[in-house]
Amino acid sequence: MINSLRHNFNQFKQAVFSYDTWELAAKLTLLLLLLSPVGNWYIRPLILSLCISGLLISDMYRSRYLWGALTLLTALRFYLAWPLSDNHAYLLSYWCLAFTISAWLKDDTLLIKNAKYLLAFTFAFASWQKWSSVEYLNGVFFLITFILDERFEDFVVLFSSITYEQIDTARDYLEGDYRITPAADKLPFTIPDSFWWLAIASTIWNLFEQLLIAIAFLAPKKSRLGQFRDPALLVFCFSIYAVVPVVSFGWMLIAMGIAQSDKETPSIRLWYLFAFVTLIFYYEVPWADLILEST
């Protein structure tokens, strides 16, 4: 039984190792567009049809026309919704453009180059925005977000001593309309120390981690920091997406990570694939809620 499982896993590992990084990144990008469809009613069916074609028709994933069409559709999506699209809508479009250019000019290294710099710029801008935001640095951002953003509710109740009732009370206070009558001086309850510490730890960890990834991707690959780029990106994906349910952004980062990963160290590809699958479980399984219910 164990030997059979080991054999199957080795077969799977060999299959992953034999994958070309371009092909794997392309197929994962098409897959993420299928798993997390984007666009309005007239863009979405076109994108989905293209992705199905790319995955099912032999070598279609290499087509410059496929990637050109996806670039136009994903760009049209954020152009029409300007400025309401999330940041990953923009990144998706740049990423599809990178595939188009690489396929058009028949040069795989162009995808590697763009994957590396798109990752570097994404994390550089994300960390710079945090560094230049006073309310991020003084901890207000996470204190407010942990209370107001429902997606973090279970997480903060699990990892601090704040209660659901306190969160509801705080929301009433923080979301009030104070354009005519000013708000009361402070919250109607004392914020627990554990909640403050959770916000402070999140503030420091996020900034540190994102800055480190940006530097690692900008540094030469063979430098000490450059060698740290894949582990740093993987730690980010395994940690942040357990809490922040923006799974399609995570999948895109993983596809980019695979594209730029070293062909001579295929085990990294396996780790990225493992992260891709793990994110599905993070997204679908309400783990914090399940732990809270069982305690």
């Binding site: 699209s85 710099y117 951002f141 206070y173 001086d185």
Partner: protein, 149 residues
């Protein structure tokens, strides 16, 4: 010539990334674009997202009576754009949509004509320490309605 053009094209995703991010930076400083939006990767860095902003549209009829227009359903998409980026284009688009609807309503119900419309936008700031919220007025624009047309 061809190879230098190909070289330039090969950098296009990164060039566009930097151009859009620079545009985001300018718009946050000059036109109150929400830091979360616009391709500058400012998500999870600021509390100033669309849901923490307020938009109020007030119509003023020929008698000077002010009425607050509920910005629901038909105006939702334009309202979200105004919240995210309260510049002249978005304020004007929302105002034109409201004015067109109001003029139809006043004609149908024989109500006093609307003479102007005012749109205000606020964002919310939270004090360090106490987290006390405060709404800051960030945009206002008035639109006069010409009934001769």
């Amino acid at each position: 010539m061809k190879s230098s053009l190909n070289h330039l094209i090969s950098w296009l995703p990164c060039i566009i990334f930097l151009m859009v991010a620079s545009n985001h930076f300018i718009l946050t400083k000059t036109q109150n674009l929400s830091p979360w939006l616009g391709g500058g990767f400012g998500m999870f860095a600021s509390t100033d997202d669309g849901s923490a902003r307020f938009v109020k549209a007030t119509s003023i009829d020929v008698k000077g009576i002010e009425t607050v227009i509920p910005l629901k359903k038909r105006y939702k998409h334009l309202k979200h754009k105004v919240r995210a980026l309260p510049n002249s284009n978005h304020l004007n688009a929302l105002a034109q949509s409201i004015i067109t609807h109001l003029q139809k309503e006043t004609d149908k119900k024989a109500l006093p004509q609307i003479s102007s419309l005012r749109i205000d936008v606020w964002k919310t700031q939270y004090a360090a320490g106490s987290l006390r919220p405060k709404q800051i007025h960030i945009a206002q624009e008035s639109f006069t309605i010409d009934h001769k047309q």
